[in-house]
């Protein structure tokens, strides 16, 4: 069914290590665990199921993968009530109605050609392609990346539809027939765990829990994303965030928050070290709940700063 992946694609996913290097070259740092899971997902042609706290780079991985394989990214953001019409395809009803009435006006009134109308109405021209169909029916040379973002927000009905799609990589449109993928898309599903995703769906995928990165990894991410921030300050900032994550907070800062904070620091902190006043003033970039900010600001921030030095 699927053709052989292009030479570049094969070369870039030759081993987990090569893949990690390719991802890193595009600014995405992975540990060997994630590199292995992505590598196996590509080789075994299985969807990748990523879970983890918000802001650890689940979504970003999909777009970086598209860059690595020089292919298109189709993104489907899930929400409650998401249905086939929004996810896969929909007929362009206003246009169909217009066409229908126009054809009848042209013909003699009362002309009995209704069956032709029905056939003529469900043509490609009236089909509106949504991300899932686009990804399956992509005419490109290479397999595209299909990102199904925050699947936990969709409801169970949608999951069962996805189950079918991810099993067969085909979509059946009753009026048109079955559309089968020429290239099996590289599928990435993400979940923030606002509910448990059905096990049957997870079974089709390779699962990976993305943890907060280790100190060295996070340091490297910040170095790449915020080159303006001085060496010493970067170490202090990342150490502080890492220490902050051991606190009992409503929402721990993700990597995205670290990067935002580092950028803010590059503007406001001109000294080489991090002082409590600056931390207090910029805490809102790291913590997103009032309770958390109240708790950390002041003495605790000072203590954590001292401990992480």
């Amino acid at each position: 069914m699927t053709e052989r992946p292009s030479a570049t694609a094969t070369a870039r996913a030759a081993s987990p290590q090569v893949l990690a290097t390719e991802l890193a070259a595009r600014g995405y740092i992975v540990d060997d665990g994630l590199a292995m899971t992505v590598f196996l997902a590509l080789r075994m042609q299985r969807p990748l199921f990523l879970e983890g706290a918000p802001g650890v780079g689940k979504t970003l991985l999909a777009s970086v993968l598209a860059e690595v394989f020089e292919t298109r990214l189709y993104r489907l953001s899930c929400y409650e009530g998401l249905d086939l019409a929004q996810a896969a395809y929909e007929w362009n009803y206003p246009r169909q109605l217009l066409a229908l009435q126009a054809s009848h006006r042209a013909a003699e009134p009362g002309g009995g050609d209704a069956p032709d109308d029905v056939d003529g109405l469900y043509r490609e021209a009236f089909l509106m392609r949504r991300p899932l169909l686009q990804a399956i029916d992509a005419a490109a040379e290479r397999a595209p990346v299909l990102l199904i973002d925050e699947i936990d927000r969709a409801d169970e009905e949608f999951e069962s539809f996805l189950l079918e799609l991810l099993g067969e990589f085909q979509i059946t449109i009753p009026e048109l027939g079955t559309i089968k993928a020429r290239h099996r898309p590289i599928v990435v599903l993400t979940s923030n765990r606002t509910r448990d995703v059905h096990d049957a769906l997870k079974r089709r995928c390779l699962y990976h829990w993305i943890d907060y990165p280790a100190f060295a990894t996070e340091l490297e991410i910040v170095r790449r994303k915020v080159p303006a921030l001085g060496d010493q300050l970067r170490r202090r900032a990342v150490a502080f965030v890492q220490r902050l994550r051991r606190e009992d907070l409503s929402k721990l800062p993700g990597v995205a928050e670290t990067v935002d904070w580092a950028e803010a620091l590059s503007y406001v902190a001109d000294a080489a070290t991090l002082d409590p006043a600056t931390v207090d003033a910029t805490l809102g970039l790291l913590l997103k709940y009032h309770d958390d900010i109240e708790r950390v600001r002041g003495p605790l921030a000072q203590q954590l700063l001292a401990e992480s030095a």
């Binding site: 196996l40 109308d117 109405l121 409801d155 765990r193 997870k202 699962y207 907060y212």
Partner: protein, 416 residues
């Protein structure tokens, strides 16, 4: 682990994982075998990562997986960023606990406890008497009869509108796909309009039940009740707490009630001990709230409010819970006793944040709860059409947020 032995290893390892409670079947084992063809089977780290990618599907299982991998393939447990705590059922050093059922049977034998039995109900018929008999005063035989009667009780939680749309005769948005289809059959003329409206769904139910010492006489029968609720209402999440929080959802999903309670009892490590409601609600907030409180969940807290923890903390946790839950119903068995007033520190701290305060001490109160759940107000924080009968009889004015003569709702959303 080379050549011929490898297949055997895979099967054995998959079985070991399954025995430890991981959902690992033949398909997963086959995926692992396939993955091994892509990695170097002589490099331990590669085998480990390949196994993890194909055999683990839940974050909670990672720690158990690591442990078993080390045991099965030798060597130290692989390092991970943040070690997840071992779930109690996977704790190898865990002492096998007395099953809840037999435990309760033992405790119930010498029923020398003092219990209030309302006088005026003596004349009622046997069945009627059972309806109104405090669980705490029941003999094992009576509890048995109550458990049977409970099976007929259905908790139908109120509906909410979901975003999904279904066909409708008249109401809702236009259903264009159908209109076009119909029009095509009728020569392009639109003769009737089809509609779609929002589908109605049952709200998820989240139960937090106190199983500490002071609730002892109620715990068993209430767990049986919760088993029935879980069986009937698919979207039920159940947790029990004393000094720590335990999730019992999976155990209560087991169909046979005895087996379910047996498994539940094994899970509970702090049965009939002290109570720290605030700490337990905090643990709930951190570990589960995000996952289970979505989609307009209704929260039932079953507790007498005896709390050895900090009431300030409890109030803060209740406030947080109130922000996320659609409605909080506090069920207190003591509320069924004549002359009870919620003076307990914990109860007083929680009152300002709950929507409904109801008794749960006899069959009748369970029926009342079922009736309430069916008719919840649509709007979050809205006052129920009728106040609980029992509130009027209570000296609630002393603790109610509005002071003397208080007749309004128990909770004021957004109030500190």
């Amino acid at each position: 682990m080379t050549g011929p032995g490898l297949g055997h290893d895979i099967v054995g390892f998959a079985r070991a994982l399954r025995d430890a409670g991981l959902p690992v079947g033949v398909a997963e084992a086959a995926a692992f075998a396939e993955a091994l063809t892509w990695v170097d089977p002589l490099v331990r780290r590669e085998v480990y990562l390949a196994a993890r990618a194909t055999l683990v599907r839940r974050r909670e299982d990672l720690a158990v997986f690591d442990e078993l991998f080390a045991r099965f393939f030798g060597g130290p447990a692989p390092r991970r960023g943040q070690p997840a705590p071992l779930a109690p059922r996977h704790d190898p050093h865990q002492v096998f606990r007395t099953a809840l059922v037999s435990y309760m049977a033992e405790r119930a034998e010498p029923s020398a406890r003092e219990v209030d039995v309302p006088e005026h109900e003596k004349a009622a018929s046997g069945h009627e008497l059972l309806q109104r008999k405090d669980f705490a005063a029941c003999t094992p035989a009576e509890l048995e009869a109550i458990a049977r009667a409970m099976r007929e009780l259905r908790l139908d939680v109120a509906l909410r509108r979901s975003r999904r749309r279904v066909r409708s005769r008249r109401r809702g948005r236009l259903d264009l796909p159908r209109i076009v289809r119909d029009a095509a059959r009728r020569g392009g003329a639109v003769l009737a309009l089809a509609h779609r409206r929002e589908k109605l769904r049952r709200r998820p139910l989240v139960v937090l039940a106190d199983i500490s010492g002071s609730m002892e006489l109620y715990s068993r029968i209430l767990l049986q009740f919760l088993h029935g609720v879980t069986q009937h209402h698919g979207r039920t999440e159940t947790f029990v707490f004393g000094t720590r929080l335990t999730r019992l959802t999976a155990q209560l999903q087991i169909r046979r009630v005895d087996a379910a309670l047996d498994h539940a009892a094994r899970e509970i490590v702090d049965f009939a001990g002290g109570t720290r409601i605030g700490e337990c609600l905090h643990a709930f907030d951190r570990q589960h709230a995000r996952r289970v409180l979505g989609r307009g969940a209704v929260v039932l807290i079953i507790s007498d409010g005896w709390d050895t923890g900090d009431p300030v903390r409890l109030a803060a946790e209740m406030r947080r819970l109130a922000r996320r839950a659609h409605r909080i119903i506090w069920l207190n068995p003591l509320l069924g006793r004549a002359g009870y007033a919620p003076e307990v520190r914990g109860m007083a701290a929680a009152l300002a944040h709950i929507d409904d305060f109801l008794p749960i001490h006899d069959l009748r109160s369970l029926h009342e709860l079922a009736r309430r759940l069916r008719q919840l107000p649509r709007r979050k924080g809205a006052i129920h059409a009728e106040r609980p009968v029992v509130l009027g009889a209570l000296g609630l004015a002393a603790v109610g947020p509005r002071g003397v003569g208080y007749t309004g709702p128990l909770r004021h959303r957004g109030e500190p």
